[in-house]
Every structure is written in C-alpha cells, then in structure tokens.
Amino acid sequence: MAHSDTTAEPTRRDFLLLTAGAFGAVGVASVAWPFIDQMNPDASTRALASIEVDISALQSGQSITVLWRGKPVVVRNRTDKEIEEGKAVKLEELKDPIARNANVDPSADATDANRSAKDKENILVMVKVCTHLGCIPLDESGEFGGWFCPCHGSQYDTAGRIRKGPAPENLPVPVYAFTSDTKIRIG
C-alpha cells in the first residue's frame, strides 16, 4: 500500500539507515577484538617471562642452554681465542651488520662488543633459534667456530653473527641483566 510514500522523505530514512549501519559495523568490530586478543599470550604465560640463570660454574669454553619463553637461550663463556676471532671480523664482511641486541641501540653495528655482555666480553647470551626457519643451531661447530644450523646449513661465527647460508639475521640477544656477578636475569 502506498509504497511510493515511503520515498517521500528519503533523507531521514537514508540517515537512519546509515546510522544503523555504522552502529552495526562498530558493534561487530568491537566484539571482534576480544575474540582476536584471546589468542595472545595469557596472564600465566606473561608471568613466566623472566628467568634467572646461575653461571658461577660456567668455565671458559663452556655453554649452558636454558629454556626461556619456550625457546632455548644459550649462555656462553667464550675463550680468548673466540673473542679475538669475533673482534677480527670486519663489518663489511657481515651478512647482517646490525647488532640485533635488545640491550643496545636498535641500529647499533654488529661489532663483537655490541654482541657480548657489557663489561664482560667473554659472556655471550643469545636466543639459540636460527633466524632462517626456527631450527636450533649446534654449539661449537661450523666453518666459523660458532654455531651451525643442521636444517639448512646456516653458519654463525663466535659472536653469533650470520656468515653463510640462508639465514638473514644474526642470532638475537634477549633483554638480560646481571643481578650479581654470577647471576643473569633474562627477560
């Protein structure tokens, strides 16, 4: 009946339709967020985010690997030879010239000093996960005396920098700090 009348006032009806549409869109978008955010790490996972490692028993030339956030973190007490080798490398020779160290400036160069612990150049702390596709490199192996990833042949040097193979970046250094001379808190 009298359908033509419904178009007599197009502006008001169009306005209402738009408003309703906007409400619907905002509503759906706001509901979507909790359903997406629930996939992020939950409170118990976040609470486990930092660990302490005791390195009092770590002799020169030894490494220990601990689990941090579900990933292996290696702490290596490097030998003098390894430190020398790390320092001898020129920046131009590096595949990835960025330090990848969460404790220094994000754009810092990948010098040996920027990779190792502050004031303790013998200590190297890294997430031991190959930056190629996530395998775990082997300690003290490869052409550069550092780490070698058996999956796809990436080679890291004694400062954990990528030198050869498909991996694009140096092994990342996580946030850490010495809580005492022999204890490191990671995370």
Binding site: M1, A20, P34, F35, D37, Q38, M39, N40, D42, A43, S44, T45
Partner: protein, 416 residues
C-alpha cells in the same frame, strides 16, 4: 526458491557468477525479494534471533576450545584458566555459557509461537519435524557442553543422564558402558563428550539449512493462519522483515548482555564451581533450567505400568514427551491454523504453557511430598494435550470466522 525470481544480474561479476554459481540470485531470492506476510508480529523474529545465537555459540565455542583441555585432570582448571588468565576469557566463557540459555529461551518462544499459530499444519509438517530434530540436537549439545567444565553438576548430570540407558531391559547396561567408555563417568566420557559437543553444532547448522529451505518453499505462516492469497498480502523481506528482525535481534542482545555482564552465574548452578568428585553427590542434582520440565516428567513416574517398571517408565515418558511433538502435525485435527480463531484451543494452549512452566519449577525442587503428585498431574495434562485434546478439539470446536485475506484484515484494523 518459491515462485519466480525477480533477480536481474547487473554488474559484470554478477553476470559471470550467474552462469557458473548463481549464489547472488540465491541470496537475493532468500533475503531480499522473498515475500513475507505483512502482518507478522515480533514473535516471528525469533527465527532470525536463533540463527544469530547459533553463530554466536559456534564462534565463542571454537575460541574456548583453543584454551580448554578435555582431560578429567585438567578440565576444571583449564576452564578456570580461561576465566582468570586468558585475555577476555571471562567474557567469552560467559557469552558461551549464557548463550546456551539464551538459545533455549529463544527456541522455546519460537516453538510456542509455532504451536499457538498452528505453524506445523499442512503444508508445514516437515518444517516442524525438522525443527523438532534441531531441538533434540540442541539438547544433546547443551547437555554435553555442560559436562565439559567438569564440576560437580557436570559429573553428576552426566552420571544421571547416561544412567537413563540402564532402564532398558537386558541391553541397557552394556549400552551405557559403551556410551561412557567405562564403568563410571570418567576421562573417556569427558573426551568423547568434548568431541561430540564440537561436532553437533555443525550438524545443527546443516539441519537449519534444511529448515530454512523448507520454510522458503512453503512460505511463512502468519498470525491469522490463513494462506497468502495475493501479492498484496505480502511485503518483500528486505527492507520490511530485515528491519524488524534487526531491531528485535538487538533487543534480544540487550537481554542477553544483562546476563553476561550483570548475572553471569544466575542461570548456572553454584555446585559446578566445585570440581567433580565421584565420591560425593550434591544434595540436589538439578539439570540446567531448560531441561527441568522433562526432568520433572522423568521423576513423575513413580509407579510400575504393567510390565514396565517405574525406572523405564520415567525414561520412556521423558523421551516420549519430546517424541510426541514430532507427531503434532498429524495429531491436531483442526482445519484452522491460528489459535486466534480457536477459543477452546486457546485455553488448552495456555494451560499447556502453565503446566510446562510448573513442571519446570517442580523439576528444580526436591522430589518429595506433594511435588510428585503435582508433577504427575502436569505430566498427565502434557500428554493429554497432544494425544487427546488436540485430536478431539478439531471435531468439537467451533472456530471463529476467518478473515478473507491478510490485506483485508490489516486494512480493517488500520481504520480504527
């Protein structure tokens, strides 16, 4: 679906699709040009509301399954992990738990609407039977979902319900053992319930498609219960029905949100916040509110009927009370659909509603004293309504005069 399609493909992509997969035509015919009776009242919006609830339950359920552990040692704590630690977990779980109740509230309104306006009568018999199947599947999904938090009510609810099968002579016990995968409800039971709880909603979705298909073939009933006679009786689905559906969906969400945010545990049972303990039965075992009328029917059969003992009798009565609804289209002998023109049916209908509500209340109370007697009276009425009153009424009732057409009735009223 029904009648000829008014859809004209316009854009290039529509024309391309039209030759290969005419899905735009399907959506247009079902959701835009589909003719709906112009006199539908808000009770007709509950179909849309139910579709919305199914989507909400499936989405929130899939998300909960990402954090839930279906192992009897971990289930309770994993649910508490969702409530405490998962981002927004409390919100999503309350949406899902209360969503089940909202789903049932909506489905009961939907069913009673169909019952009152005779929506099950020729040619909508199959539509109704598909609805009964959906309802049965919903009950299965709701029951198995309630077991998953593995609280006291979960455990004892599962124990009591699976014990229904032991009422069957000879093969009952082996069937029950098979169903629960052990000699008592345990880890095996929980695991299979989780698997099936995840599956059933998708079966529901499938039957819903058939339900809607059948609806679009026969068209909607309406409050007058008379057939659509001409195009004047109808309006296109969009924008008329969509604007109404949208409004009542949002109003329903207001009601739903009230429970999620202000009464999240009102419809649950406090005992389910105590972990399952096979050594202690709670003082009163009560199912979820939506099963209470049937639970009362189960407990109402306290006497042996010939060779059938009271245990089997109760189980048969309970399942029978749902099964009988599937035969409703053939039990109601009246030619008139809508209760509006059936004075006697109307009384019988509201007594039926009162009996079911009262059964629900009795189901929540301890079964002692007069409660059993009341439940027996109501149960008797429940079955009499379907098996005696509806068949007989068709012959003795004198219906009021039906209007000639929907449009005539609508215009006559709009003059006042």
């Amino acid at each position: 679906m029904s009648g000829h399609s008014t859809y004209e493909p316009k854009s290039g992509i529509e024309k391309w699709l039209e030759k290969r997969l005419p899905i735009v035509r399907l959506l247009h015919d079902a959701g835009v040009s589909y003719p709906t009776p112009r006199n539908l009242n808000p009770l007709w919006t509950f179909g849309g509301i139910l579709a919305m609830m199914l989507v909400i339950q499936i989405v929130s359920g899939i998300v909960l399954a990402m954090h839930y552990a279906s192992n009897s040692a971990l289930a309770f704590d994993s649910v508490e992990g969702i409530m405490r630690d998962v981002n927004w977990g409390w919100l999503i779980r309350y949406i899902h738990a209360n969503g089940a109740s909202m789903f049932f509230i909506a489905v009961y309104i939907h069913i009673l609407r169909g019952l009152y306006y005779g929506s099950y009568k020729e040619p909508r018999e199959l539509l109704w039977v598909l609805g009964v199947i959906i309802y049965l599947l919903m009950m299965a999904a709701g029951f198995m979902g309630y077991v998953l938090p593995w609280g006291q009510m979960s455990f004892w609810g599962a124990t009591v319900i699976t014990n229904f099968f032991t009422a069957i002579p000879v093969i009952g016990q082996p069937i029950q053992t098979l169903l629960i995968g052990g000699f008592a409800v345990d880890n095996a039971t929980l695991n299979r319930f989780f698997s099936l709880h995840y599956l059933v909603p998708f079966i529901i979705a499938g039957v819903v498609v058939l339900h809607i298909w059948a609806l679009h073939v026969v068209g909607q009933n309406n409050p007058l219960g008379i057939d659509v006679k001409s195009e004047k009786d109808t309006v296109p689905f969009t924008p008329y029905a969509t604007s109404k559906d949208g409004l009542f969906m949002v109003l329903f969400l207001v009601f739903y949100a009230w429970f999620v945010f202000y009464q999240p545990n009102y419809l649950g049972h406090p005992d389910n916040y105590t972990p399952a303990n096979p050594l202690v039965t709670p003082a009163h075992i009560v199912p979820e509110w939506y099963y209470l009328p049937f639970y009362a029917i189960l407990r109402a059969i306290t006497f042996n009927i010939g060779p059938i003992d009271s245990k089997l009798g109760g189980v048969l009565a309970m399942f029978g009370s749902i099964a009988v609804t599937a035969f409703l289209p053939w039990l109601d002998t009246s030619k008139v659909r809508s209760g509006r023109f059936r004075p006697l049916f109307r009384i019988a209908f509201w007594l039926f509603v009162a009996a079911v509500l009262f059964l629900g209340y009795l189901g929540s109370q301890p079964a002692d004293g007069n409660a059993v007697l009341y439940a027996q009276v109501c149960t008797a009425y429940y079955f009499a309504f379907f098996l005696i009153i509806l068949p007989v009424l068709g012959f003795i009732e004198k219906p009021k005069a039906l209007p000639n057409s929907i449009i005539e009735d609508v215009l006559a009223k709009s003059k006042h």
